[in-house]
C-alpha cells in the first residue's frame, strides 16, 4: 500500500512558475490523470514526482504500508516510469526489453547466459495481454511506434512497482489498445492498490478510468485544480 502527500509544491522553468502551492493527498489505489494543454508542465510535474527534477519549493512524501516514509529519491525501487520518449533499448528483442523491468534482480551472469526461463515466461504473458506476443523475439528497432509504446508499458507492468508515473502512455495507441491499457491500469489500482499518475488528454478516458483529474493552469500557476471523479463504473 502506498500513499502520496504533496505539500506546497512549486516549480520554476525559464523564469516562469509552471505550478505553485500545489497541495495533494492521494490515497492508495488511485489513478490520477494530469491534464492540460501541451507545455503546461505535465511532464515536469511527473519529473518532480520521480525526483528527476528538483522542485523549486515544497516537498513530496511517499508512505509505504503506513510505516516507512520516502522522498522521490528513496522511492525509486518502488517506482515505475513510462517515459514519453519510451527509452527502450533498441537493439535487443521486445521480450528482453520487457524483462529489463526486473533489471534490479539481474547481474552480469544474465547478460552472458540469458535470463531465467520463468522470468521470460512472465514477460511473455504480459506481451500477450498487450497483444504483441508475436513480436517477442523481434528487434525492438524494427517495431512500430505503437508497438514500442506497448513494449514500454509491458516493461513497467513486469517491474510491478507500487507507484507508476506514465507520461502520455497511450498517445500512439488505437482505441482498442488504449482501452485495454487503461483497463489494465484500472485493475492495478483497484486490485493491487497501486497509485498511477498518468498524463492524459482525452476527457472520455479521464472520466472512464481516472479517480482524480489534476488540471494545471498555465495562465495562473497557483490556480491548479484537483477534481475527484465520480466513479459509477
Amino acid at each position: 500500500m502506498i500513499s502520496v502527500k504533496i505539500q506546497n509544491l512549486g516549480l520554476v522553468r525559464n523564469q516562469k512558475w509552471l505550478f505553485r502551492n500545489l497541495d495533494l493527498s492521494i490515497p492508495s489505489g488511485s489513478l490520477v490523470a494530469i491534464v492540460g494543454p501541451s507545455g503546461v508542465g505535465k511532464s515536469s510535474f511527473l519529473s518532480c514526482l520521480s525526483g528527476l527534477e528538483e522542485s523549486t519549493e515544497g516537498k513530496i512524501e511517499y508512505k509505504i504500508d503506513s510505516n516507512s516514509v520516502h522522498t522521490p529519491e528513496t522511492i525509486r525501487p518502488n517506482l515505475g516510469i513510462i517515459f514519453q520518449s519510451l527509452r527502450l533499448t533498441e537493439h535487443v528483442t521486445v521480450l528482453e526489453n520487457v524483462i529489463y523491468g526486473k533489471i534490479a534482480n539481474y547481474g552480469i551472469k544474465e547478460a552472458i547466459f540469458g535470463f531465467p526461463k520463468k522470468d521470460e515466461e512472465a514477460a511473455f504473458r504480459i506481451l500477450k495481454e498487450l497483444g504483441i506476443e508475436k513480436l517477442a523475439h523481434k528487434w525492438t528497432s524494427q517495431t512500430s511506434g505503437g508497438e514500442k509504446q506497448r513494449t514500454a508499458i509491458a516493461r513497467t507492468l513486469n517491474q510491478n512497482p507500487k507507484l507508476i508515473l506514465a507520461d502520455e502512455p497511450v498517445s500512439n495507441l488505437d482505441t482498442y489498445y488504449t482501452g485495454r491499457v487503461m483497463g489494465l491500469f484500472r485493475g492495478l489500482v483497484e486490485k493491487k492498490k497501486k497509485i498511477i499518475f498518468c498524463a492524459l488528454h482525452d476527457p472520455q478516458l479521464i472520466s472512464k478510468f481516472a479517480d482524480y483529474a489534476l488540471s494545471l493552469n498555465p495562465e495562473n500557476p497557483e490556480k491548479w485544480n484537483l477534481r475527484e471523479i465520480n466513479q459509477n463504473r
Partner: protein, 280 residues
C-alpha cells in the same frame, strides 16, 4: 482601403540575411581545397626532372619477375607470425580502448577527463605504426613482442576515438532510465547502452584487425617481427627482388581475402545484430 493594401505589402517583405549568413561554408571549403591542390601540383611538377616511366617499368619487370617462391614455407611461417601479432595487438587494443573510450565520451564522463583522454588518444594516433615499432624494438629487441606493443599503442588511438564517438552517438537517456528503475551504473551500461553500440564496436574492431594485419606486415621492416622482417632481408640482398615479389604477392592475397571476409562479416553484423529501424 489603402491602409489595408499597405499592410499586406509590408507583410510580403522577406527578412534579409547578411552576406556571411548566406555563405555556404562547404562550398567555400571546396574552393579552398581545389586552390591548394592546384598550387601543390604546380610545385611538385616544377621541382622534378621528367620521369622515364617506360624504362622504370622495364627495370621493374626484369628484376621482380618471375617471383621466387623457393622459400614458401618460410614466407608462410612469417605470415602466420604477422597474423599472430595483429590478432594479439588488436585484442589488447579493443579491451583497453573500451575503458579509455568511456572516459573520452562527452555524454558519459566529466569534461576534464574527456579533454585529457582525447589529448592522449590524439598523441598515440600522431605517431605512425613504424615509429611505434622502432620505439619498442629499442625496449624489447627485434622480436614479435615489439610488434605487438607497437600495434597495440597505435590501435588505441584509433579504436579509442571510434568507440568514444559511437558511445556519444547513443541516447544515454535509455541507460539513465534503467538506472531510475534500480539498475546500477554497470547494469545500466550493459543493458541500456552496450546492446545499441555493440554492432558498431564489433565492426570497428574488425576494421582495426584488417588494418593491423597490413601494419604488422610493415613493422617487421624495423625488426618488430612478422613478414616485414623477411621482406627487409630480401630487399637487402642483391638478388632478392624476386623474393620480394613473392612476399608481396602473398601479402596481397592475404589482404584481399581478408578485405572480402571482413566486408561479409560487417554486412552480417549490420543485418543481424543491428538491423535498421523500420522508420529509417
Amino acid at each position: 482601403m489603402k491602409s489595408r493594401e499597405d499592410k499586406s505589402k509590408a507583410e510580403l517583405i522577406m527578412p534579409t540575411r547578411k552576406w556571411h549568413e548566406k555563405l555556404n561554408f562547404l562550398n567555400v571549403l571546396l574552393i579552398i581545397f581545389l586552390f591548394l591542390t592546384l598550387i601543390s601540383v604546380k610545385k611538385i611538377i616544377k621541382g622534378n626532372r621528367p620521369a622515364d616511366v617506360m624504362s622504370g617499368l622495364n627495370y621493374f619487370l626484369k628484376k621482380f619477375f618471375p617471383p621466387d617462391f623457393s622459400e614458401f614455407t618460410i614466407i608462410l611461417n612469417s605470415l602466420a607470425e604477422t597474423f599472430q601479432i595483429a590478432i594479439v595487438s588488436t585484442f589488447f587494443a579493443i579491451i583497453l580502448s573500451l575503458f579509455i573510450s568511456l572516459a573520452a565520451a562527452r555524454n558519459i564522463s566529466p569534461g576534464w577527463l574527456v579533454q585529457g583522454t582525447r589529448m592522449l588518444l590524439n598523441l598515440t594516433r600522431t605517431l605512425p605504426s613504424l615509429i611505434w615499432a622502432f620505439i619498442f624494438v629499442i625496449f624489447f629487441g627485434p622480436t614479435p613482442i615489439a610488434g605487438v606493443f607497437a600495434l597495440t599503442f597505435y590501435s588505441l588511438g584509433y579504436l579509442g576515438k571510434f568507440f568514444s564517438e559511437s558511445f556519444e552517438s547513443m541516447d544515454i537517456k535509455v541507460a539513465l532510465g534503467l538506472k531510475l528503475i534500480g539498475a546500477s551504473r554497470f547494469k545500466a551500461f550493459v543493458y541500456g547502452l552496450w546492446p545499441n553500440v555493440k554492432a558498431q564496436v564489433w565492426s570497428q574492431s574488425l576494421w582495426m584487425l584488417e588494418y593491423n594485419i597490413r601494419s604488422a606486415s610493415i613493422v617487421g621492416l624495423v625488426g618488430a617481427g612478422g613478414i616485414g622482417m623477411e621482406l627487409n632481408k630480401a630487399m637487402e640482398m642483391a638478388s632478392g627482388f624476386q623474393k620480394v615479389s613473392a612476399i608481396l604477392i602473398c601479402i596481397l592475397c592475404i589482404v584481399i581475402s581478408l578485405d572480402l571476409l571482413g566486408q561479409a562479416i560487417r554486412k552480417w553484423i549490420t543485418d543481424k545484430i543491428s538491423p535498421k529501424s523500420i522508420s529509417d
